[in-house]
Symmetry: C2
Subunit: 306 residues, 2 copies
């Protein structure tokens, strides 16, 4: 990919910029032979806003099982020094664990569940694979903010993801209220590419997963997008699921309440949108952040709690 | 005040503790000769929850004038190096300006306005004076959290305030939404004194106004209070006012939205509750944080925007 042909060049200019999105948000091809996972109204909401919440997609029993598994993983992985484990700035508590769909059998099954997988296949109009998976714990009392960003800006620049044909699926494993730092999204922001200032430091991911410093959108453009589309927080009960486009601007405030805000994130990427070389001669990020070696189409298989 | 007689000893024990409140929350004596500022239902809400919100107490014109004045002060005081100006950790933006009722004529008038002053006089059942005043800017994008605390815990320990007979009046100068880090309070927490661990470092206020490290309540007790009373955020339009008891546990999350959450705070203390020596032989904090030299009863005088 030559820079001169790059429609989504970022971190290379002397000024921030706002660029038009080229790709569709929702593809027309339906990949599922059975009843579609989304109805027309839901597809329209996703196309318009760049995200969609499906309340109570997982049952209370499933949530209990998944939550326990997540806590078990947290215990098992604390103080292992593994690269997949990211600590909160300050408190050192576990902030995120990456690659959970490879590290854990239950989550490996979950990414194939038709309730989530088929939504991804329908929206992206193709077979899909997991580009990245993680748990974000956001602990009570000490959970820190995630600043505004477009995932695609990073995945394009640092991972060489060619086009906006990926989405995140966030499964709420605790209740997400207005108070404990819920995901905030800017409706409509997915239609604009915000090109950011600044060069990417070497091994940027080692810092950026705690606190983003490259790929940070400009204040003026954030204000513009927010004034245009508003800001919507994704609050809901555990078991609800939010799907959002790879280019939807999002972030979340910190959490001083005693109640953790813990969510699973699966990033589905179209098999037709596989990673190329990162821009600007950057070294590819490790496989636990950006999968390159396992890009076969996921086969739907209903998730069954053991 | 001897420690052995101190009903609200804090930062001196080897374990955190929860103690019963001794003083009334709302006093029976009505200090106003004219129509009372609060009706019975409002007094009951304040007594029960430890706080009360009065929506739209100030008009849109008054809000505009006060907001402009606040911004003017911010500009005038940035980079002056004055002690009253507290910077945000990290960004260095103005987080708070203290003593605004002495530094600014408009705010000096505002503290006497019957709409706020008479509420304080009625609840505290006596004449009152200003113990502390400040603007909290909480800027957009970079506004950091204020961690949970009881004001009284600090004012008692560091300022020698004898009893729980003071309140804060917070005038919203921007809209406070669920998204921009609104004040959160724990209903009912004002009935319990949370004695905190740890000794007070010398000149603690120099750090604690940015980030509190002494007087931090225990996680377990915060969880207990929250489970008992819930957590309520004080959202509302600019011009609304929140009154809360000096011992109501409160805090706020950070603010990454583009929209600042700026509020005025006036702390009214009963003239019968004047400061004594701080506990543990601490030096008194400076007058811009804890007034000792101007404790005459405030005379009500309607606020008129110039």
């Amino acid at each position: 990919m030559l820079l001169s042909q790059d429609a989504y060049k970022s971190r290379a200019q002397s000024t921030a910029a706002i660029l038009k999105r080229n790709e569709p948000v929702v593809y027309d091809e339906l990949m599922t032979s059975s009843a579609p996972a989304l109805n027309t109204a839901q597809r329209d909401v996703y196309r318009e806003n760049g995200f969609l919440m499906l309340p109570d997609l997982f049952s209370a029993d499933e949530v209990t099982g998944l939550y326990d598994e997540m806590q078990q993983m947290r215990g098992d992985f604390t103080a292992t020094g593994r690269a997949e484990v990211i600590a909160e700035p300050g408190s050192g508590e576990v902030r995120s664990i990456f690659d959970v769909h490879k590290l854990n059998a239950l989550f490996a099954n979950l990414v194939r569940d038709p309730r989530v997988l088929n939504v991804a296949r329908e929206i992206l109009g193709s077979e899909v694979y997991i580009h990245q998976s993680r748990i974000n714990y956001k602990p009570g009392f000490t959970g820190k903010e995630f600043y505004w960003h477009s995932d695609f800006e990073t995945w394009h620049t640092e991972d060489g993801m060619p086009a906006m044909r990926a989405l995140s699926c966030s499964i709420l494993l605790t209740d997400n209220s207005d108070l404990n730092g819920p995901l905030m999204l800017i409706p409509g922001s997915h239609r604009h590419f915000i090109s950011c200032l600044g060069e990417t430091p070497e091994d940027n991911y080692k810092k950026s997963l705690k606190k983003q410093e490259a790929g940070v959108p400009d204040d003026f453009l954030l204000r513009y997008l927010s004034d245009l589309g508003g800001i919507k927080s994704c609050t809901g009960k555990a078991g609800s699921v939010v799907f959002f486009d790879c280019n939807t601007m999002h972030g979340s405030n910190g959490n001083i309440t005693p109640y953790p805000r813990s969510n699973l994130f699966f990033v589905y990427n179209s098999v037709e949108n596989q990673l190329q070389a990162p821009t600007d001669g950057l070294a590819p990020r490790p496989g636990y952040i950006a999968v390159r070696d396992d890009v076969n189409a996921l086969e739907p298989e209903p998730f069954v709690m053991a």
